[in-house]
Symmetry: C2
Subunit: 654 residues, 2 copies
Amino acid sequence: MSRTPPTRSSTGPIRLGPQAHAALRPSVAAAVTSGFWHDRRRVNAQVGIPQGPALLEAAGNLHNLRLVAGDAEGSFVGDYPFQDTDVYKWLEAASWQLAQDAAAGRGTSALAAEVDRIAALVAAAQQEDGYLNTWFQSGKGEGRYSDLRWGHELYCAGHLIQAAVAHHRATGRAELLEVARRFADQIDATFGPEGSGKPLDTFDAHPEVETALVELHRETGEPRYLELAAYFVDRHGHGAHGHEPYCQDRVPLREADTVEGHAVRQLYLLAAAADLAAETGEPALAEACARLWHAMVATKTHLTGGVGAHHDKEDFGDPYELPNERAYCETCAAVASIQFSWRMALLTGHARYSDLIERTLFNGFLAGMSLDGESWLYVNPLQVRDGYVDAGGDHSSRRTRWFRCACCPPNVMRLLGSLEHYLATTDGRGVQLHQYASGRFEGEAHGLPIIVSANTDYPWQGRIEITVEETPVQPWTLSLRIPQWCTEYTLVHADGGEPVDGVVLDDGWLRVGRAWAPGQQVVLELEMRPRLVVADPRVDAVRGCVAIERGPLVHCLEQQDQPGGGLDAVTIDPAVPLAVKERPDLLGGVVTVVAGGQRHTLPDAGWWPYAPATDTTATADSRAPGRAMELTAVPYYAWANRGTGSMRVWLPTG
Amino acid sequence: MSRTPPTRSSTGPIRLGPQAHAALRPSVAAAVTSGFWHDRRRVNAQVGIPQGPALLEAAGNLHNLRLVAGDAEGSFVGDYPFQDTDVYKWLEAASWQLAQDAAAGRGTSALAAEVDRIAALVAAAQQEDGYLNTWFQSGKGEGRYSDLRWGHELYCAGHLIQAAVAHHRATGRAELLEVARRFADQIDATFGPEGSGKPLDTFDAHPEVETALVELHRETGEPRYLELAAYFVDRHGHGAHGHEPYCQDRVPLREADTVEGHAVRQLYLLAAAADLAAETGEPALAEACARLWHAMVATKTHLTGGVGAHHDKEDFGDPYELPNERAYCETCAAVASIQFSWRMALLTGHARYSDLIERTLFNGFLAGMSLDGESWLYVNPLQVRDGYVDAGGDHSSRRTRWFRCACCPPNVMRLLGSLEHYLATTDGRGVQLHQYASGRFEGEAHGLPIIVSANTDYPWQGRIEITVEETPVQPWTLSLRIPQWCTEYTLVHADGGEPVDGVVLDDGWLRVGRAWAPGQQVVLELEMRPRLVVADPRVDAVRGCVAIERGPLVHCLEQQDQPGGGLDAVTIDPAVPLAVKERPDLLGGVVTVVAGGQRHTLPDAGWWPYAPATDTTATADSRAPGRAMELTAVPYYAWANRGTGSMRVWLPTG
């Protein structure tokens, strides 16, 4: 792999080491300045992140820290051994937000004070030898590292490390990083291969510490952390946890041929493997990551980018087992999928990884947060039935203020807080725009900085104006990802509208290699005609159905928008052309897609819902024609913001 | 409801009291003498039940009883607080088997000795005050009745009572009944409404004690047991368990409009409610039972009769949420469904309840036991994918010798052991044949006994010869259920083949009211042509699919029988007529259905399994024609008896 590593590093997640075997590196000094993602991030900054401390206080997480520090009376509050991670993920989110605010020159004193206060609670809770876990320290769990199948101690350590790395990168301050190092050293002294003299030769059944240790290595330069990460990744699949798929222990990663078990665990493990492959350059590990990514995407990913088919054990299902109403598609799994895919994008330079990131960001991920930033979805199904009974709990299809198991909300916060770092890269020979958002992105060529800015109303419009703000005089390559959903596009000079010549389409990348001048502007226009999509016939759950997409957005029907109410009796007529309707009044301002359909009379099947097939019912176009109606489809990310009601992504054609 | 209660009672389950408000009573002295069910019951008698004690010993259940009796060292073995029920259900099954053997004049000394031995272990484990639960007595659980959400103490008591009642009915002996009474009295002294002076006003979140207490009342005449059962049933739905659907506590039963929560819990509760409605005659309770039965069958029952859509929490799903590969359809839920439906059949006299029983018995229930009686399925899906990965555990689609949670096998044993009592009834004015099996069934009219015998090769053939063996001289009515799946039938005199005249079809019952003479014989012929069935369009999981049925049997494709292997690429052509093929060589001897189909070339979709619809792909008949092939469908009950492999009940038409 020919590489020309850039000389400067990103200030966001995944600061690849100077010798990393990666095709791309995250853009240095990226910023999102307006438009769709800027609006979502503003909600995160103004509502999401600021509400964190009060919610963590109410849920007992901060009390638990004070409790084990000796600064509070009582006992552990909460049901799970991993509750400290809610605090750590919030600290990570807030740290990225501090960096973002600092880069934008905004005052951040209130947030900075909260970060200081909560980081101090964490530091005070740490034990003398570096260990830190309030569940076990409070006596709720029995015996340190005695239950690595369920105890989540290293998982918690991983999130602490991630928070500390973010805090250090964002603020330059070392207090939290020091806490993380002491814990990492305690873990390093405890876990190791048989014969190493370390007491425990096993791993935490919930991965996270692995990818965190790679980042800690990147931040500190300490090789022991990289070695420890590699040891943990390699330890999977040898039976330490009974070869359970749930524990990512059925087979070693390098031998696996599909993703399986708990989706978040699988994806955090794969993110670590991709991190290691980048740092070590091991081909077998990189190949395993690519193979498993492809198996996941080709056979186990919902149209929304959501993954994890099973509620039971939060598992991946079998290939093509992609249910609608019981799609688990945990919000955390969307975050984990993006983290894994982004590392693969950096490692390989292939555009398809960012295709999946785009789909997941705009759909399966973003649906997890309400439009107002105040409530959440833990699971993200593709269908809610007319007869849905809300039994409450974390897995409700009604948005919830906070969960008993509150892993998802701060996971959304930390990804939104650092999103600018997932949009553009440099390979030392130019800039690659992976996602389209209005902002500034810095890359490098010939050892000199490049700054490009983008201006767009994406995803509502397909026009993206790209301006070269700063450039070396020598030629370099601007690479623009042509999304996998896009079949028509143009690239023209803003000045005059002439097509840009010498452009090459290279496996999803539109490459513009040429000399650039400051102020030069090109316009990429992606055709945004709405479309119907169908699934591979092996996806049994959506046989005889189509879905509506426009640009990167998957759409859905919500019953609130359809004349006559519920969706049980509604079919779509694929022969009626789709139309686009701007609706600034709806759901914070969306572009809807209007389709033609029918409302049928529901059969009165008596007491048994199955019947002998007749000539007319043995095929899918079985129903008598219904009453013609207009169907209004809204972007999936905006569903469930108007109370409860039925919803469908996949629409029957008959 | 006009009733003429018969003067004698069944010796099987549900011995209705003399004043019961029920339309029908179980046949007195029923026997199955040959044919399909006789063969299945012989496997149960010769393999299933005899293997019980060794399996219960190996799993620790008997050790646990000895442990708390002070006759063993060590600690509780097993993971669940309800493990005593495996012993109790086996005792119930063995007791029914003893009764069956005695009625057939067979020697039973070995089984009787095992029953005596294990009943003595149970008696020895009981505490002075009547309490008995090895989980709590061994200290594994903390504090009697302290965790009624999960402790299962009354659930265990219920199965002990059922075993004791069966033992008493079967053998006339009182030792085990005395153990059950002492426990019931302890429970009665502990639980009662506020103000009753009893310490606990709540209920066990897993119903079973309720229906058991009704049977104990029937066996002993003690009214307190009936009152206690009514108290427990009424206590549901008022928030004692946080209104959780899982605990059957969301709403009171009389206000519910659908079945919900844990399927087995719901159905055991409903069985108790139907028992109470029969004993008390309360119309509101009978109406609620009928309403919930209809909601379950019309919207939440799989084609196999299986119920419980969710693995997660073993719950019912939403209406029409009936997945194939993730159908949970626990074997115990099939047993519970049959128990509830049979009580409704007795209560109301309606044929539809026995229609569902027939469907469940031959399909969703029977699939739970292997052909050789040595291994089991806990869950009974309607599809196993080509890419299925067996992660082992209780919920595997591979048959298992015994489960960690071994509730299902002894549940199958006890239902098969008492099956003759679910086949025929009397209303004091004649005999009703609900199910067709070769055997003898006794009823009553004019206060005098009627004995009819049936001779049939059902379900392989539709011919049923019915002989009146013993009859009063006065007229009485022979009622024959015409199965819901059957659209053509004839009833003729065996002597000469003339149609029987004066016959009335009355809501599923063919009524033959006339004077009969001993030896008189009629022949019912049910047309057994194989058929394709389709589902209500709201059953999204099977859109564009048909299933194959013949008589009461649902069929499936197993990959072993199809040329070319896996099922992912196979479609059925509904235009090709179905054929029947007798296969004495296959699966213990079955009649297969042969259909026409195609094997397609699977799409190579690249890395993303969704694509824009074209004119040809937006409808269900989208695939290019494949290679014509013959499909061989076997009865669903016999699947998974030839190792692992893919399986489908619902077959795509395109």
